[in-house]
Symmetry: C2
Subunit: 256 residues, 2 copies
DNA sequence: CGTTGAATTGACACCGTTCAACGACAGTGG
DNA sequence: CCACTGTCGTTGAACGGTGTCAATTCAACG
């Protein structure tokens, strides 16, 4: 499953993979990789960034999963999940303070870039700036898909949607496999990400398992019936801007 | 209620007002205003932009309300509401195709800027680029607040949250008044924005009315008990990045 | 004054929460 | 080796919020 970019770009090789990475020039890819220095490891539950903190660097997720979470009166709400290749707090470059925490789910590998360094790289390169901008807008598009799933789907559909999305996003960056993917989120985590309780989430996990749709256990998701999973989730991956009707394609070039 | 910017910048005067407008230089504000030409009017229900269409210009909302909506198998889902001053499809500058429709609610006044023109203005001005970027990240932050409200709040809380948000956003740009604000959304619209049915939304409207919290009727929202409204909505406006704990403040300058 | 869309009301079934408890399992320390 | 502990996973029952169906009233408009 190793791609060329994995070796040439050990830190940023998955950034925008499956999306606009093809629009990055060799020079831009090199410049992006060069911004990052060492890769650091953190354990499950490590808080990479806390709501309200002043941030002066941004983080790329090299390996593992990170959730965006907000804790409010003893209940935690998960508003997003990041997969390898995601520039998980690039929006902090413009916002300076984030409205949510970034927390590792399972062990992660990340790397950092100072905003000062980012300024230096982006200054005078509107094309690369727009690629970075695009990656933050991708997160916004995913947010909108989450809003829709909360508005329209019951709990089993929300779970199916979440699993469909993660699987799709992993495949876009060359991860996962034909049967499913490794996924360390507990049923409690899944409940917080689907706006339901752990008790009800447990029933939905069992329902999908009993229906031969998907088997979720011990940090592993095995998809048994992809068609049924998609159907329950009413899943359409267009919003990820991979190959599909919304793909940016050749329209991204900046005319001079 | 007229501010200086209303006359100096009739089209873009409300852009980022209450947020980072203070970080815009006179030159940047002038350059932004100069990008736009005529202001056009559209009636209620006019589709300004359709999902999947290739866009080569972006739109600023001068007056009125616009919703972001996705229609899926005979049901419409509203994933966002835009108020005057919002650069409503600036994300199309990088995405090129949007994942949702933009539809006028009530009469609107808008103005357009070609992406080519935008390139010209932003090239070589990383500071202004970052301000524009910031405004799209603001939308993303609002999306996250919506995800949270869908995850945690019952229907009356969602409605209260929506009203709280619109009121707050209007006040940030110098609109609305002490009693409430004009708001042309029907109960059907409100239902689609809160992930419930029109019938149930009607009950929630009546509940808030009977409780002396807020009176919604005939295109007008009158807030009767602001404290109670906030409480039902569990509303905290920090995510709008106006004055508050998350405010960017003086940290936005680009170090050289 | 008839038409149309919005707002309103009531009955009923169902999805999801809550409370209370128990089982499975890994890590820890005696 | 076993008892202890905490987290995750699981189950059952009662309650309440919400969706659905069907029908009626109201407001705006030509």
């Amino acid at each position: 499953m190793k791609k060329a970019d994995d070796t040439d770009y050990p830190v940023t090789g998955r950034f925008l993979q499956g999306r606009l990475r093809h629009a990055m020039s060799r020079h831009e890819a090199d410049a992006t990789e060069a911004m990052f220095d060492t890769v650091e490891r953190f354990d499950d539950g490590h808080v990479l960034s806390r709501r309200g903190e002043l941030v002066n660097r941004s983080t790329i997720l090299v390996d593992g999963y990170v959730i965006r979470a907000v804790v409010e009166r003893d209940r935690r709400h998960i508003v997003g999940i990041q997969v390898p290749g995601d520039f998980i707090d690039l929006h902090g470059y413009a916002l300076k303070r984030l409205d949510h925490d970034l927390v590792a789910v399972g062990p992660v590998r990340v790397s950092f870039v100072d905003h000062e360094r980012l300024n230096h790289t982006l200054r005078g390169d509107l094309h690369l700036t727009r690629l970075m901008w695009f990656s933050t807008l991708l997160d916004a598009s995913i947010h909108r898909a989450w809003i829709m799933k909360m508005e329209q789907l019951p709990a089993d559909g929300r779970l199916a949607h979440l699993l469909s999305e993660i699987w799709e996003r992993l495949r876009l960056v060359g991860l996962g496999d034909a049967q499913g993917f490794d996924f360390p989120m507990t049923q409690i985590d899944l409940a917080d990400a689907c706006g339901t309780t752990a008790i009800h989430m447990n029933r939905m996990v069992q329902k999908l398992r009993a229906g031969g749709v998907v088997d979720i256990r011990r940090g592993r998701v095995n998809v048994l019936d992809h068609a049924q999973l998609r159907s329950i989730a009413r899943y359409d991956p267009d919003y990820l801007y991979g190959p599909g009707d919304l793909a940016v394609g050749a329209h991204f070039e900046i005319a001079d």
